[in-house]
Each structure stands twice: as structure tokens, then as C-alpha cells.
Symmetry: C2
Subunit: 638 residues, 2 copies
């Protein structure tokens, strides 16, 4: 079959049926076909986790095809399966669509609004738990097992975990209680593919002898080849012997299994296929290999080759990446530059060295780069210890994790009044395709009230550099820098010579007529871009306000107080975001301040954010320019 | 020596000097004397952790007396000591005052404003880290060890941990990295007294074979008798052999060691001397035993008996406890009552069964009571799993921990849109004596923006019952109930027949004259009591507003909008508390709403709260009635 380079290919349901009918080859062949569909879904979606989906799909297929009773139906005595790591969900979707538990056509809708979310969500049929925030799986399974015991329900709970995930404290926290409470209906399978987000688990934060460790927590442990259906079946059989002990099967797997070049860590030590869509070349090359492997298996039993169906390849996104602002790159460059000036700077990472732009610093100052693994609590308290001994720690992770998992640890550090810089990457509503576990839209609220912690969010590369320099050189206390990760093509520029002034905004667009009617206040590249677009329609002035929890009330009153209407757009929940803080000023006037406050319109998220493509999700939450315009007109017209 | 029952006794510095001069008996005898001073400090302060101070004091004494070089001076190559559990700090203060590192007179000022904080704080001399939030110690030590390595500093870091503390995930999260980064200068000593807050560790959440576990994480492990100075000395010597491996010494100790009746778990299975001051009887009885033991040791070397000094016993607090409202008791009773009606209710606890008022429910419904140990993340995700299987979990811990340690887990549960009730006990500024690790003044901010999670705080026993019933029977979504733990004598009552109406307050005191001048809005018993006191001076009306993150804007406008001045008192940080949410309403009027908003005055905490006695801390933060009056007059007069 000749692959056309303007098409994407998937194995249709009819082909899956054909293979399933021949029981001799069902699992082995089906597993290859599912990989073709996983590859398709992720390539089409533009992002997703291939490596882990390929390492986990054999185990998932076996569980759903042969092992589980009434899987995930919620019926009495039904077995439950979920993946604690969650980013392998394309593999689960491939299984569920192949078994027609999900409509087959949903494979065309991965990471689209109303389609299949980027991480598991229980509002999709047959998904048993929301995951994607690592380390929670066994605890959730314990809750299910306790509920089953109370209900005299014999259902078992199968939990798939990653191995990098074992670096999370909650994993270990959850073990002992399962054993002492004799929750023997829990069967955990570790997808031990030995590579985490960036590189080898061993190099990131070695796990030592996992089996030996887990046994000391009172679990029954087995180690198997996770790509061999015979050993998978045998292990699941063996598992049932000891009714009282929770079980853990350590499945040795290969990340990227099935496509030779996806099974390797690159020469630079980084693994390239953890997340993100493969390039066109990689896609067709992988597809060819998988098709070939399938066809060999089919040929062995005298069946004709696989017939794939195709769809047109989606048009590439319109924005020109070379003109887009890349804040993470600017942050990483500046960090490395400052690293040369400041010997006290120590950079900490939790297995996101690439995503947080830390490669340059790590290369230049390896001694001052601390890789903590997926262990955010540990990382933040390590930073606390470093600061107590005179270092300036710069702590990195995705904002969704950094602001929440080590929330108490950040507060504890703040109580010591040392200086620490936290960088929360992947901030805000976009990208919307990974889903709510990764959309950091709660960090102002989660951390904003901590005394001595100033939160700041830059809107472009220049302001990113300014923010980092301000945090390092000017702010005597701690700073949380909130960084949007997606490159954004901007429709505004900061004034020449712009510098940061704490608690004050800066006008980036002036459209207001003589009578100053509307001011739109926003922060970060995404919402400012939308604000500027909207402002042209409603003759508004637009202010960039990078201070998320610090305002200068005088500036607010004097500058924003002049407008009839002040609109604040939060790239965050509306409740307890910047809007609440700014709006408060107009309720708190000194006597000298006359009371003719502007009307205010606060915009922001009001529900758990949707998963989907960026444009459609912005629109869904009414935070795109058009919706903003409409809202402003409503308020003006009312 | 005859003990007078209106005096409290301590061993003065002169006696400590006398004993230290005789090197034959220094450590053994000194340890008894330190226990006398620990007992004194805690009895005088009215609260503190005796059991753990007695189990840890021998180890601390040895380290500070003989083992550490330049201890906690911060000088090059100085050794560092801190306790990760932190509540054993009276023992450390006893050591530091005896060694004159701290002014001896500070033993009279435990848990007083400007005195010695209830948990360690680095702003006290020779305190190396802020602790009291469990499980962070090894991570902090890692940061210090990495800093030392970067500085070519040979200083060692000694960390004391509890054993109950080993239930925290962060403890395990921190282990592996220490081993793989070869942080051999870290020496952890586990105060393995086998009793945690409520009862035996084994019964709460068994730790299994700790030594074996820790070894699998690549640490060097030793097990010793933690009350035998020879084995302590020997272990510390042995420790130095392997330079690359972090070390853990599991010190078998006895909680309450030194006073026979404090060394036992009571017949009801609960340990009585974890926290809180001993009764008068217990105090004098313990003092007698300790003095006797000391005198026997002194006599053995021909020295005269110990001469204690005394101070007058502080007068008992004026408030009559029988008239005080006890919200925790009301909550516990109501929970047990509802437990009989609702079979789906499952109560979860993290080793605070007494403090959270759960004994009654546990006794009545043992199958539906899940003791999770000190493992808040695990507990919250277990609740998530229970809810997914149709149960109604009610999750309990102190608010300071519950709102922060499992912050991401609570959000993850919210994303599943299941119904869960969280009860955050020990909420608010008071009690102020345990210090900032335990003062929960950040929970509105930390959790308030989560969609589907309504936060409510009752002000008396009646409203506590109403709140629990509302959460269980009326609210279809999740609720966080914020509960003040200290009994408070109230100066107001709720109207007869009062019921909760979401987003609305209720007037509890009407002082305003014809012209409605001032409204004070507060929640919870402590701040409402202060508000009512203040209101009498400034002719204000007082509203109880139990909804912490849900307001009915119409009610706010119609009722509060009538006043010239609206004062909101947050038992929380001012930033991102209820004040911000209410004040926002006056900035956001629909067109029909006329713009003559009231002036607003927001009161609340603006810095990390101080440690001290309740009255002095309220005053320090200007949240006592007098300060509130003054502020209101300032705003009115200005």
C-alpha cells in the first residue's frame, strides 16, 4: 500500500472485526493495529503521548479483551480499570473503540471539544477515574475497594501506573494502608518502560529495586514481560491466590514499543516521543513499520494484508511560528545568562527539563542544576533547604502541579521568609488539548494569599526577561512567575523602554475616543491578544497588568478610575483571580476619593475548563475576542 | 521538697551548671532535669507536646552536648540539627536554654507572643528550619546538603523525624534522591516511639519493618535504643563509615519517657499526653516522679538533691467553659446522628480522631470509619474513589493541612464532579499557640476557586449542625466546612428558626441608629464575637456571613448596600478572602443599580500569623474588638 503524504491512515472497524474473528492471532495482531490507530489519533490531534501508549497498549488490550468481568460498567461485581498516569489514554481509546465500547468514529476526535479528552475524564463512557495528575491512582483504587467491601461487591480494581510516577510521594503514601486494610482486590500493574518524560528513569531519579521495595510494604509482587500475552495472562492468574494482599505486577515494557526508532533514547540523552505529535516523516515511517508487522502476522495465518482507510491531513495551523513569541525559550536563555552572573542561583526541575526551557542552564551549570524527578513536594522543600543555606533556588514545573501539589511546602518556605523563585509553566487555559489536569487556571487563588510571594505573569519575551530579572535582582522576597508555554503571535507590543513597576499596568493599545469609555485589563500573551482584538471593535484601551496578586490602588484609581467600564480578563478562574483584587479597589476609597467608580466586568473561567483545540476552547469559555466584544456590548447596552 | 499547688516549678540554670560540672552524670541526670523544665514550660503555656518531647529529649541532648560541631551557627562546616516533626520543640528549647544558646528566661515564655513559638521557627536563634507540617524534613536537609556540597562545606545535617510522620508521602518521596545523589552528610534519626497523635502507630497505619523498607531506598540503616546514651553515641560513630550513603538511625523510644503514667496508652486505646497541658494532678505527680529520679542519680554520686525554683501558677482563663460553644462536639454528635440515617456516609480521618470529634461516629459505625494515618493526599483520593462508587465521603483533618497538602487531589476530585464533604478543623487564627504551621488562615484562597466546592463556616453549635445537614442533604455538590476548634463564649445568638440561605448573611446584632451607618460582616465564632463587641462602640449592625466563596450579589447590594460603611472581617488573610469577594459586588453593578456604593473596610491577616496566647495574638494582628473599633473610627473620621 502506497502511503499518500497528504493523508492520515487508520484501521477501520471492519478490519478489526476481520482480525478478531481469527482467534489464533487476535491479541498479537490486534495490538499492532491498535498502535496504528493510536498513531493516527495523536498525529491528527497534533499532540498526545505515543511512547507510553505503545508501552501500555498490550496490557490494556489483554485486560479488556480477556481478563475483566463487566469492565467499567458500574454493575455489581464488575471489574474496574483505569490508568493512574493517564497520558496513555490514546491506547485505552484505541482499545475501547476497537471493542465498540466507544463509538468507533471518536478516534477522529482526540483532543477536540466534545471529543476524547487528552487525559482520562469520567464523563467519557467507560472511563473510571480522572487522572493525569500523577500518583493518585492507588489511593483512588483503595476508595473503590473499600466501597466494594461495604457493598459486598466482588469487583476487582486494576490500576495501571507509570514507573516515573513512582517518584511521587503519594504512590508510597498509599501502599501501606492497602496492605494493612487487606485490600486484596486491588491489582496494580506498573508499566515499567524505564523512560519518563525527558529521559531514563534511572538517570532522572533511580527507583532502585522496585519489586523489593514494594514487598516491604506488604504487597504481593510479580515481575513480567509486559509485551508477552502469555506472561500477562499467567501473572493475572497467579495474582488471585492470596485474597488478602494487594498485588503489584511490574510489567517490563519498552517505551514506544512497536516502532523501532521510537524505542530509543536519542544520542543527546533525551527521549523524543513522550508527548507531542510525530513529524510527517516520523509518522509515515512508523505507520509503514506497523503495517508491515501486521501484514507479516496476517500472512502467517494466510490472511490478506491490512486495508487502511484514510482521511485528508488537517491543514497546518495558520500562525507563523517564526513570528510567535516563545516565552519559555526567552526564560531559558535569560536563566542561563544570569546563571553566569549569579553563582548562588540553583535551578530545580521535576522531569520537565525540555518543557521548562532548562536545557541550556543544565548544560552550562550542571552542578547547579538539580533534577528532582516527578517529586514536586520534595523539590520545593529542597529549595527551602537551599535557601536556608544562602542559595537562590529557581523551582520549575507546570503551574498546575507546582501551585497545588507542593502547596503546603511553598507556604512553609514562605514562613521562613527566605527568597525562592517559582516558575509555573504551561500556565493558563491554553493549550487546551491536554485537558483539565494540565490547565493551570487556579494558581493565583491557590498561592496568591501567601505573604511575601509576589505573582507575576509576562506577556511576551521581553517582559519574560524583565520578570526574571525583577525576581532575581529587585524583589527581596519570593516570586512566582507564571508562564504561558504555547508560542503566541502577538498583535501588540510593549512600549519602547518599558520596565516593570510593581502593582501597575501599562497601556498596550489605545482605541478609546475622547471620552474614555472602556479599559480592558489582561495579562499574559493569550488573553492580551484576545483583548487587543476585541478592543478594536469596542474602542477600548487595553492594559497589560502583569501583577497577579499585587496592585497599586492609587494607580488603579487614577488610571482605571477614569473609564466608564473596566473589564478584567483572567486567564484563570474568575473567582479569586486578578479581577476580584482590582475590583476591590473601587469599593475601598479613602474619603478624598470620590465615589463615582467605573462599572466593572470580570471575565474568566467559571467551570472546569474543557479539553479541545485552542480556538474552540477559548470560544467555548467565551474568552475569545468575539465573545469578549459581545459581553462588553451587552454591559454597555444594558 | 514539698510541692505547693499554687506554684509551677523549674530547674534553674544554677542547678544545671552544678550537674554539668560533674561529668560522670552529666547526660543522664541532665536529661531528667530537662524533662522537669519541659513539663514546666508546657504546663505554664497551657498547651504543648509532652509525649514526643520526652521521647526525643535524650537524643537531642546528646547531639547538642557531644556530637555536633558549631551546631546551627551557620558558620562554615557547622553541623545542623532540626526536628522534622517539630512538635517536640519544647525538648529542644529545654536543651538550648540549658546550654545557654537561648536566654534561660525564655523557658517562661513558651507559646507567648515574642517568646518561644509552639512549633520551630527560624526567627528564634539556633532554630534551623520551620517545621510542624510533617514530612518535609529530609527534603529540606537535602537542600542544605546540596548547598553544602556546592560550598565545599563539610557540615552534617541531623534531622529528627517522628514515626507517625513516616506515613506522609513526602517522606518516601525524599528518600531515593538522597541516596542517588549520594548525600552522605544527612543523618536522619527516627524517634520511633510507636505512638502517634491518637494511638499506636501500628493500629493507625502500620509501618511494617521500617529498617528493611528504608534500606531498599539505598540508605544505611541502624536500629538503637534511643534512651541509652551509649548506643546513641555508638550509632553516631558507626554512621560516619560510609561517606556516600545517607544514614537513618531508627531510635526505639518511649512516648512520655520518664514519667510512668505518661508512657502508656490508656485503656480506651487513646494516648492522653500527645498535646495539651497536663491536669494539675498529672503535673504534680509527674514532677514528683522526675524529681525523685533526678535525686536518686544525684545521690549516687554523693550530691545533694535538686533545688527547684517556682513561680505562681497563672490564673485560669476567665471564660466559663460550660457556656462556651463547642463546634467540634456539635459536629461530631451530628455526624454520628446522620450516620444512622445515611448508610452511604463514610468518614475518613488522618490521625486526628479526637481533635476532629470523630470518636462517636467511629464507635457507632466502625466499618464506615476509615483511619488513613497521617496521609492526607491518600485520604482525599480514597474519598475520590469512594465517591466514584456511590459513597458520600466526609474527609477530616486540620484545615491548615487539608486545604494545602492534598490541594491537587481535592481539585482532581472536583473535576470528577462527585460529591464529597471536607471538614477543615482548627480553622482560623486561633488557637494561636501552636504557631503558623497549624493556623489555617489560607483555605478560602487555597480552595475557594474550585468549581463545585462551596465553602461554609458556622459560628455556633446550631449553625454547625445546619451546615453539616446542608452539605449532606441540600447541596448536590461538594462542600468544605471550616470549623473553629477552640470553644468560644459567644455574645450573640442566631435568630430563632434560623436556616441557611446560600450566599446570604443574617443580622445577629442591631446597633445602627436610624441612619444606617456601619455594617460589620464576619463569620465563625471568634471574629463574630469581636465584631459584636466592636459594634457596640460604633453603633454598627453585625452580620454573620457563613458563605466563604459564594455570595448572592442581590442580597449584598440590597442589604449591605444600604450602609455607608461595610466592614468585612476575615478570619483569614485579607488578600483573596471573603472581603475581596464581597467588595467586588460594589464594583459590578448592573445599570439599574445606582452607583452610590458604600465605602468598604476590609480587615484580616496581612502577614504570617504570630504565635502566642489567643488574646495577645488577636490584638497583635489588630483583629480584636478594640482594634476593629479604632479602625472603623479612623475610616469614619477621615
Amino acid at each position: 500500500m502506497v502511503l499518500e503524504k497528504d493523508k492520515l491512515y487508520f484501521a477501520p472497524l471492519s478490519e478489526i472485526h476481520r482480525v478478531r474473528k481469527n482467534s489464533c492471532l487476535a491479541a498479537d495482531t490486534l495490538a499492532q493495529i491498535l498502535r496504528i490507530n493510536i498513531l493516527y489519533m495523536i498525529k491528527r490531534a497534533g499532540s498526545g503521548h505515543i511512547g507510553t501508549s505503545f508501552s501500555a497498549v498490550d496490557i490494556m488490550l489483554w485486560l479488556w479483551l480477556y481478563e475483566m468481568k463487566k469492565p467499567n460498567t458500574g454493575a455489581p461485581d464488575s471489574d474496574v480499570f483505569f490508568s493512574s498516569k493517564g497520558h496513555d489514554v490514546p491506547a485505552l481509546y484505541a482499545v475501547l473503540t476497537a471493542l465498540e465500547k466507544l463509538p468507533f468514529d471518536s478516534i477522529h476526535q482526540l483532543r477536540q471539544l466534545g471529543g476524547l479528552p487528552g487525559h482520562p475524564d469520567i464523563h467519557t463512557p467507560y472511563i473510571a477515574a480522572n487522572t493525569g495528575s500523577l500518583g493518585m491512582g492507588i489511593s483512588k483504587a483503595k476508595g473503590m475497594a473499600i466501597a466494594n467491601r461495604l457493598n459486598n461487591d466482588m469487583g476487582r480494581i486494576f490500576v495501571l501506573t507509570g514507573d516515573g510516577e513512582l517518584q511521587e510521594g503519594q504512590f508510597w503514601e498509599s501502599l501501606q494502608g492497602a496492605a494493612s486494610q487487606k485490600l486484596g482486590n486491588i491489582i496494580v500493574i506498573v508499566d515499567h518502560n524505564k523512560i519518563q518524560s525527558d529521559t531514563w528513569v534511572e538517570k532522572t531519579s533511580s527507583l532502585g529495586n522496585i519489586a523489593k521495595k514494594i514487598e516491604t510494604f506488604g504487597w504481593s509482587v510479580l515481575e513480567i514481560d509486559g509485551h508477552n500475552f502469555f506472561t500477562i495472562a499467567e501473572a493475572l492468574g497467579t495474582c488471585l491466590v492470596d485474597k488478602d494482599k494487594p498485588k503489584m505486577i511490574i510489567a517490563n515494557t519498552i517505551k514506544g514499543k512497536g516502532v523501532s526508532f521510537m524505542e530509543e533514547v536519542a544520542k543527546d540523552g533525551l527521549y523524543k516521543f513522550h508527548s507531542g505529535a510525530p513529524s510527517d516523516d516520523d509518522y509515515y515511517c512508523a505507520l509503514e513499520e506497523l503495517t508491515q508487522k501486521t501484514n507479516i502476522l496476517l500472512e502467517m495465518v494466510g490472511m490478506k494484508p491490512l486495508e487502511l482507510e484514510s482521511v485528508d491531513k488537517p491543514a497546518p495551523k495558520t500562525s507563523s511560528p517564526h513570528r510567535a513569541e516563545n516565552l519559555i525559550k526567552a526564560y531559558g536563555n535569560e536563566l542561563a545568562r544570569i546563571g553566569g552572573q549569579r553563582e548562588d542561583v540553583v535551578v530545580l526541575d521535576a522531569d520537565l527539563v525540555k518543557d521548562c526551557g532548562l536545557l541550556e542552564f543544565k548544560k552550562e551549570f550542571p552542578n547547579r542544576f538539580v533534577e528532582c524527578g516527578i517529586a514536586e513536594q520534595d523539590m520545593v522543600s529542597i529549595a527551602g533547604g537551599l535557601a536556608l543555606r544562602g542559595k537562590l533556588p529557581i523551582v520549575n514545573s507546570f503551574g498546575c502541579f507546582l501551585s497545588t501539589r507542593p502547596n503546603e511546602q511553598i507556604y512553609n518556605n514562605a514562613s521562613e521568609k527566605t527568597k525562592i523563585i517559582y516558575a509555573g509553566h504551561l500556565a493558563g487555559l491554553l493549550p487546551a488539548s491536554p485537558g483539565h489536569s494540565h490547565q493551570s487556571v487556579r494558581d493565583i487563588s491557590a498561592l496568591g494569599s501567601i505573604p511575601g510571594l509576589t505573582m507575576i505573569q509576562p506577556c511576551d519575551e521581553i517582559e519574560t526577561r524583565l520578570a526574571l530579572n525583577w525576581a532575581i535582582y529587585e524583589n527581596p522576597k519570593s516570586t512566582y512567575i507564571r508562564l504561558v508555554t504555547i508560542p503566541v503571535e502577538l498583535n501588540f507590543t510593549l512600549p519602547v523602554g518599558y520596565t516593570l513597576t510593581k502593582g501597575q499596568g501599562v497601556k498596550v493599545q489605545g482605541n478609546a475616543k475622547d471620552k474614555k469609555s472602556v479599559a480592558i485589563v489582561a495579562y499574559g500573551p493569550v488573553m492580551l491578544r484576545e483583548a487587543v482584538k476585541a478592543a478594536q471593535d469596542v474602542q477600548a484601551d487595553v492594559f497589560n497588568f502583569p501583577w497577579l496578586n499585587r496592585i497599586n490602588p492609587r494607580w488603579i484609581r487614577e488610571i482605571l478610575g477614569q473609564y466608564d467600564l473596566v473589564v478584567v480578563i483572567d486567564d484563570h478562574y474568575k473567582l479569586l483571580g486578578l479581577g476580584n483584587i482590582i475590583a476591590t479597589v473601587f469599593g475601598i476609597g479613602p474619603v478624598s476619593y470620590n465615589n463615582s467608580s467605573p462599572k466593572m466586568l470580570l471575565l474568566g473561567l467559571e467551570e472546569i475548563p474543557a479539553c479541545g483545540q485552542n480556538d474552540e476552547v477559548l470560544k467555548y469559555h467565551k474568552l475569545d475576542a468575539e465573545s469578549i466584544t459581545t459581553k462588553i456590548r451587552e454591559v454597555q447596552g444594558s
